[in-house]
């Protein structure tokens, strides 16, 4: 067999056999500037076991990596930790090539797989806490319902203390570096935060419960192998610690000012508001929506205590990009926020009222009344914008919130 792709050895019995997606820049509406990986793992035990597959177009790569270690036809068990198609997409092709004895998924996973594929093979449901013998090695399953799908679960390899954590603790980061300790630390933390902010934030109460559950189970964990991004082989507690902070909603003294503008009037207000916030000692991110992607706004919101939103009024409503980012942020259920609305308008000016309504639905506490300016802001209007920023800064107090 000619060599193309190779497996990467992780432990005595575990290999990475996934795929690197260097090209992807839009992951269902979430910007992935650094591409991603789809991680699949091969466990060479008496029962040869494959944990997850990859996004369908990359399945040949997965099978070639498996083949660099063992003939894929020798795979006995396939485990599906998560039904989403970036991990299950390769299942039909893998099952055809490997003809495994058994396929396993969570109870919700069995149902979800049947609603995605016609696999031509029964999938066996495994429950939270159940174990599976691979002969010389043992696996245990830890369900993680709604982290981030109903079918989500993690698989733990007892003898080598490897936790195949599915999407948890993962990130979208393409690279030849397979392990977190090989990756530039700045990129690592940035992408880990971005992943949490865009996918897991609304599920924070469940994240906190999962972390408690795993702590109670007292499983020694030497390595965390997620389904995207680098593998945590040294200090896996570091990413767990970050998750605990994010799940607790720990905030910095930070504000995000996001807006769009038609003639730079709302834009001038936004920048002056930003300066007002900064004068109060708050870290500010001003994010014009024709420059910043909604997922980057969400990332900055992860540790922000304040959200200020500006919109012109277009045809009696919000400027569409502002409606977009608010819809997106609302779904992420950020907590413990103060905020305000602002905008320039020409005649009817409904936008700021609609912004306040939306912020109210998001449970953002309004720190000041909406600031509306007709057409181009004059010095007085800019001073009022600056004052709005300082007022919100004052509400953020002098200590970090949690």
């Amino acid at each position: 067999m000619s060599e193309s792709y190779r497996a990467v050895k992780m432990t005595d019995h575990v290999y990475w056999v996934g795929a690197v997606d260097w090209a992807i820049r839009d992951f269902h509406g979430h910007a992935t500037q650094r591409g991603t990986t789809y991680n699949a793992y091969l466990v060479l035990a008496d029962k040869v076991t494959l944990v997850d597959t990859v996004k369908a177009p990359f399945t040949d790569e997965l099978l070639a990596r498996v083949a660099s270690v063992i003939d894929p036809a020798k795979i006995d068990y396939v485990i599906s930790n998560h039904t989403e198609m970036d991990h299950s997409g390769g299942l039909p092709q893998v099952l055809a090539a490997a003809k495994p004895e058994k396929v396993f998924a969570s109870t919700m996973g069995v149902k979800a797989l049947a609603e995605h594929f016609r696999l031509g093979q029964d999938v066996q449901a495994v429950k939270d806490g159940e174990s599976l013998s691979l002969g010389n090695l043992d696996l245990a399953f830890v369900e993680a319902r709604m982290l981030h799908w109903p079918d989500s679960m993690m698989t733990y390899l007892a003898q080598e203390q490897v936790l195949f954590s599915s999407d948890a603790f993962g990130m979208h980061l393409a690279g030849s570096e397979r392990f977190a300790d090989e990756v530039d630390d700045c990129a690592l933390v940035e992408e880990a935060a971005k992943y949490y902010a865009n996918i897991l934030l609304p599920l924070s109460p469940l994240v906190a419960k999962l972390l408690e559950k795993v702590a109670r189970l007292n499983l020694p964990i030497s390595m965390i192998a997620p389904s995207h991004g680098p593998i945590w082989r040294r200090e896996p507690t570091r990413i767990v610690g970050l998750y605990a902070d994010w799940a607790a909603g720990k905030k910095a003294r930070k504000a995000v000012v996001t807006y769009d503008t038609m003639w730079e009037s709302t834009g001038k207000m936004a920048r002056t508001i930003g300066d007002g916030l900064a004068s109060g000692g708050v870290t500010v991110r001003v994010m014009p929506l024709r420059a910043a992607h909604r997922s980057d706004v969400a990332t900055e919101m992860l540790d922000a205590g304040a959200l200020l939103v500006g919109s012109p009024t277009l045809n009696n409503g919000l400027f569409p990009t502002v409606a977009d980012v608010l819809t997106y942020l609302k779904g992420l259920k950020p907590r413990n926020l103060v905020g305000a609305a602002f905008g320039s308008y020409g005649w009817s000016g409904e936008a700021t009222g609609q912004l306040e309504e939306m912020l109210g639905e998001m449970k953002v506490e309004l720190a000041a009344g909406a600031l509306k300016v007709k057409y181009v802001p004059d010095d007085e209007a800019l001073a009022a914008s600056f004052a709005l920023g300082s007022a919100v800064a004052e509400r953020l107090g002098t200590e970090t919130q949690s």
Binding site: T107, R145, P150, D151
Partner: protein, 52 residues
């Protein structure tokens, strides 16, 4: 009183129950078995809150 799943927003209505999963109509949330899970997303009773 209705209860809402905080993970997926499914609403448990006691008048309706969840007969497909063995909970008869008319069962107050408090009397739904402890091992019952949200029929939409599978999380446990502890993730439910009283709905307005």
């Amino acid at each position: 009183m209705k209860y809402q799943c905080t993970a997926c927003s499914y609403v448990y209505d006691p008048a309706v129950g969840d007969p497909e999963n063995g909970v008869a109509p008319g069962t107050p949330f408090e009397q739904v078995p402890d091992d019952w899970v949200c029929p939409v997303c599978g999380v446990g009773k502890d993730m439910f809150e009283p709905a307005e």
